[in-house]
Symmetry: C2
Subunit: 327 residues, 2 copies
């Protein structure tokens, strides 16, 4: 089997995905005039096979996840995507079919999220497949959200549902976990999909920009990310009901000890936002208009302890650690 060289890889698989700023990817660098009156937002996530995804995941899904986790960062900043750069370190055993499927998935999402490929680098990896995506976005000047401006009494919201992805990851275990065997086939598919393909909440950006004091995307588990956000503002919170999907609730009925994993597992890519009380109603209206479900989970209070979560019976949940640690 003949495999194309680097220039052919770029020309055949990636140039069709490129936007005007990428100059057909015939150059080493992308260039563009930033939109007038806008600030730039730049984010970068790195993903390794065996750590952030499985090497045998569908190649299109690997590509889409890599792009989406970056888009999720842009969403949390209230930013509109401008384009992305792809760093791709391919292991020795890559095939043209694999790469074609990878590029097809990437192109689908680049089009769907209006975020064209504008540059990057393709190299040989001595080990596992490694991806690095840098996404650029823009926000009206001065309006970028940060994590660090939560105020006392702000209402804490999360989008979507929490903990699905860590359950989807759990279902990949061999042998499958006992609780997994009790789930309906439909719930299993739903949870696996939530691990495989996060949904960046880009449509929430207008609501966030208009109403939120602070926001971040939840990538390392709700408990840890919430603690991190509140700590930056010297705050804590009592957390009430966290939104769980029907599938996650099914899993919790099978094994109630899973609650800690749901709260601390990673890969949710939902939005956590702090909204002042007088903006709460308009935030909820704007989120509904954007068709993104959001749920109040608590209120920011003065304090330096990590936020406390409660089970449905109102008892505080003991968490051994707040989030998944990579190191």
């Amino acid at each position: 089997m003949t495999r194309p060289g680097e220039d052919e890889i770029i020309e055949k698989y990636f140039a069709p995905l490129s936007g005007p700023a990428g100059l057909g990817l015939a150059d080493d660098a992308a260039a563009f005039a930033p939109p007038p009156g806008q600030d730039l937002v730049v984010t970068k996530d790195m993903l390794c096979a065996g750590v952030h995804f499985f090497a045998d995941d569908p190649p299109g899904a690997i590509a889409r996840k890599a792009l989406r986790v970056n888009l999720s960062d842009l969403a949390a900043k209230g930013a509109e995507p401008l384009g992305f750069l792809l760093g791709l370190a391919l292991p020795d055993d890559w095939t043209p079919d694999w790469l074609a499927a990878f590029a097809a998935g990437l192109g689908e999402d680049a089009a769907a999220y209006r975020c064209p490929l504008i540059g990057g680098d393709t190299v040989k990896s001595p080990g596992a497949l490694t991806l690095s995506i840098t996404a650029l976005g823009s926000v009206p000047a001065g309006l970028r959200l940060t994590r660090s401006r939560v105020a006392e009494n702000d209402i804490l919201y999360v989008s979507g549902t929490i903990g699905d992805a860590v359950l989807g990851l759990g279902l990949r275990g061999l042998p499958p976990p006992a609780w997994g065997l009790e789930l309906s086939a439909e719930s299993q598919v739903f949870l696996r999909e939530r691990y495989l393909l996060p949904q960046p909440r880009l449509t929430l950006r207008a609501a966030l920009r208009a109403s939120a004091h602070a926001a971040m995307d939840i990538s390392d588990g709700l408990a840890g990310d919430l603690a991190k956000m509140l700590r930056l503002s010297g705050l804590t919170a009592e957390i009430g009901e966290v939104p769980f999907s029907a599938a996650a609730q099914e899993a919790l009925r099978a094994e109630d000890g899973l609650i800690a994993a749901l709260l601390t597992g990673g890969d949710d890519y939902e939005i956590l936002a702090a909204v002042p009380p007088d903006m709460a109603a308009s935030f909820e209206r704007a989120a509904a208009a954007a068709q993104v479900p959001v749920r109040r989970i608590g209120v920011a209070r003065r304090g330096t302890t990590p936020p406390v979560f409660h089970d449905t019976a109102g008892r505080a949940i003991q968490l051994k650690s707040l989030s998944y640690g990579h190191f």
Copy 2:
């Protein structure tokens, strides 16, 4: 030995390197107002241990090379650095000492080239150390150089000397190559250094912007990169004398067959530029003022064949392939 977690790594090693746009790296994304009247230039290079550098190279040098190869891309575009993002996939056996030395080297170059760290991602690599740097720069609006606008009769220039890095890499071979044993100790040190630490030609940017039709940095070997640049404009060239360092000339005296490696080996990170004849004198003056040696190597001519190189006796050199292929 206790190793810090991801948040501590960022706080301890990388936050001190961050510029204002990086917000102390406490957030997921960098934000900044692009300089008014400037276009943005964005470039990304990925480097893997065992492919682009040796895992046991000094950690500070690994960091500096990763940044410099990106700065070299900015230099070729005539761009001024604004900042960079670092993607770092650390293998299992990393140590705090290694990371401290890595960050120190990175910080030294970030300061020297006025290119602060503004964001990134640190993850666990299941295999080799992998780095991905995205560098952002700016050029006055509309003035960005590309590779693709070479005109017939343009004079082709290269900066510095060609082929040193591939010789420096050769000297790392075990056993050392025969020609290596004939080199002076001084030449060996020089060539190894040229492989380890490229010199991004950022000071050439004013000269390039004022006078050049097209430019690129030479990363995959002069022969291949020149062919690539000329092909984009439907041109070719007869190439005369290529500048070689005293050390490279010493190696050529020991083994004249090395000439092909010098012309096709990678990692030069010198600038290749096409300058119209009526701008040649001012280009040379501006380069001299910037203290960057530049040499005319030929003239662009109509044609579709790859450019032909000649040895000192004026004979055409047969090259088996034009550049180092990663795939």
